[in-house]
Amino acid sequence: MIVELGHFALILALMVALVQATLPLWGAQRGDARLMALAEPAALMQAVLVAASFGALTWAFVVSDFSLIVVVNNSHTLKPMLYKVAGVWGNHEGSLLLWVLILAVYGAAVALFGQGLPTRLKARVLAVQGLIGVAFLAFLLWTSNPFWRVDVPPMNGQDLNPLLQDPGLAFHPPFLYLGYVGLSMAFSFAVAALIEGRVDAAWGRWVRPWTLAAWIFLTIGIALGSWWAYYELGWGGFWFWDPVENASFMPWLLAAALLHSSIVVEKRESLKAWTILLAILAFGFSLIGTFIVRSGVITSVHAFANDPERGVFILMILGFFTGGALVLFAARAGVMEAKGVFAMVSRETALVANNILLTVAAFVVFVGTIWPLVAELALGRAVSVGEPFFNAAFTPFMVGLATILPVGAMLAWKRGALGRTLRGLLPALALALALGALAFAMQTGRSALGPVGLMLGAWVVLGALTDLWARTGREGIGARLARLSRLPRADWGRVLAHGGLGITIFAVAAMLSWKVEDIRVVQLGETYPLGRYEVRLDEVHEVEGPNYVSTMGRMTVMRNGAVVAVLSPEKRVYPVAAMPTTEAAIDYGFLRDIYLVLGDRQASGGWAVRSYIEPFANWLWGGAIIMALGGVLSLTDRRYRVAAGARRGAVGVPAE
């Protein structure tokens, strides 16, 4: 019964979304206040209905209702409760329901918190948001309905893929979706502005928080996924340039570009058309990501051909929204006159450079991701594109970005003085170069990647600190320190986000170039050297888990005879899914992780063991968290907190 109510709520949500997508838009065109006023309650109602539907599906998973196909395919009575709940979005149908739920919640958030928005703009934004809702609700109901029953319910389910039964991955999809779908807000605002035919500083101020929030969620979601890959997949890799990963990385790059260009719109009323285009592209890439992940087209052309219905549907959604918005853009972009002008050397120019580099980087990822498909379909040429390609083709743009970042962040708006800015950054530059040279001198016979990464990372971090210090004025130390605590949160946010990026750049380079690896057969009780450590395999025994059987080793890591850590790497077999997994044992440290993986028992006796020292691994996730924290600080800046009330009088001013 609850399941039927959930199904019914979903159908009702589609009806409400239809109303939300049409009448307010018509009302805004005609100037009919009553029709425009429909948008708000419709958006709220849609969110409530989809939430009810999502709740019903969650309930079905919690009580293991095996009359539902999705529950049968993705759950099992023995599964821990956390993964029963996470199982709701651990499959195609449920994850799309989550997608739609988040979409509806964002729409409701505009209805609730958008009190200061001009009525007409608000009606149009909500209508566009509703239209996206219509498309995805229809997709859900017609091709991916999570509420379909089976005729004869089985006694038990087929379990969730064991690799996905992990806390890191349980929360990875919701964060990613909050990010993907968050970009729909920027899209809706962009399309509404195109219909309206005007963009002003207030518009920039409205779009930026949504983009920033989406970017924060994407940052956390990608970091969670990468962390999961690091400890779960068993060889210490953290990024594989896999199509599904790229699908989340492209929107992240474009969201980063968009949140920088929307600053220019907000502060200088320039780059308007470009920002609109970027907003369309960012959401377009979210849709492409959804298409890639959900259609399976990239992993195998044949998988797509076997079940083309879903893929074609998403492709149609993608074509309609991106194509429609681009046509609208082509027709109306000319109206967006720039107000603020700027010199060749200025913060604006630096942000344009940032935008070009980020967009080109996203494009490289895009081309690399779809090239195997294009080459096979159009040219009949079998091609694979993987990590070595991206390392060669993507990295240069990031190096360029990191090089100009500290300078660009400190240039003045409108007209900057390159010489003065560079003089201020001289200590940071010297220190970064010195650190890079030191690292190069200390390592022998390895690639230059590590030292260059250290240099770039240090340059960005020290540049961010210089930026912060420069914001405190020119008086004595005491006065400057006092001013430090009174700086707007946006300044702290910028410095933290840039610093976090620097740390991440350094950690990526360090992990790629300074990793220590050891693969060998170890007898029980044998000790072997690993870098500066010694590792002993003490014992191996069988352990029974709730829904798996585990072969667990006990290994002691020592340094000069003193015990550093006792670790238990595991090999698990999940009988229901008939799938083995490796559970690496990791001793987390500030400067390095010790990462041990237990392999197979050898015919000759002893066990295959792989051991790694992963330098600065925690700095990678730490850098991502600092970046996200910078975003949160920026989001809570005073100008956004007071914006809702204060902008009311100013928003009516046209851009022309």
Binding site: T359, A375, R381, V383, V385, E387, A393, D600
Partner: protein, 157 residues
């Protein structure tokens, strides 16, 4: 080599999938590795750029599939026989096609892949410079005719 290809070519896909799942051999095994650390390092370097022919998006260095193990052993045999890195890679490509290369060779249509990024960068910079020019990036430096006249007037006084 021939025997190997026949082995998995005749194998029904579901059996193959089952075999892949049922054998949790994790990537490079100790018994495959070469005693010479320089040769071994070269072999690892090569195998990180080669895709496992039966899996998606996994290098033979990471893959658990039996075919990947065979490829890793072949690479090591070639290196021991005195092949250069390029010759060892060519040996694999000649038998499994260029689709096993994770870094596609920049030849023919693959040039599109390699040049797409740099090309867009040039377009982006070009558009930015052109639109900057069109806007007149520093119009505040120039005075309008009326302002010039007014300035002249002031200076004359």
């Amino acid at each position: 080599m021939k025997r190997l290809q026949r082995w998995w070519a005749d194998c029904p896909p579901y059996i193959l999938a089952f075999l892949l799942l049922a054998t949790p051999v994790a990537a490079v095994q100790p018994d495959e590795m070469l005693a010479d650390p320089v040769l071994e390092a070269r072999a690892r370097e090569i195998s990180r750029d080669i895709r496992c022919p039966v899996c998606q998006g996994e290098t033979i260095d990471d893959s658990n599939a039996p075919i990947s193990r065979d490829l890793r052993i072949i690479i090591r045999e070639r290196l021991v026989a005195g092949d250069t890195d390029e010759e060892a890679v060519d040996y694999i490509v000649a038998r499994y096609g260029e689709g096993v290369l994770f870094k596609p060779r920049a030849t023919g249509s693959n040039l599109i892949l390699w040049l797409a990024g740099p090309a867009l960068l040039l377009v982006g910079v070009g558009v930015a410079v052109a639109s900057g020019r069109r806007r007149g990036m520093v119009p505040e430096a120039a005075l309008s005719e009326a302002e010039e006249a007014r300035l002249e007037e002031i200076l004359k006084k």
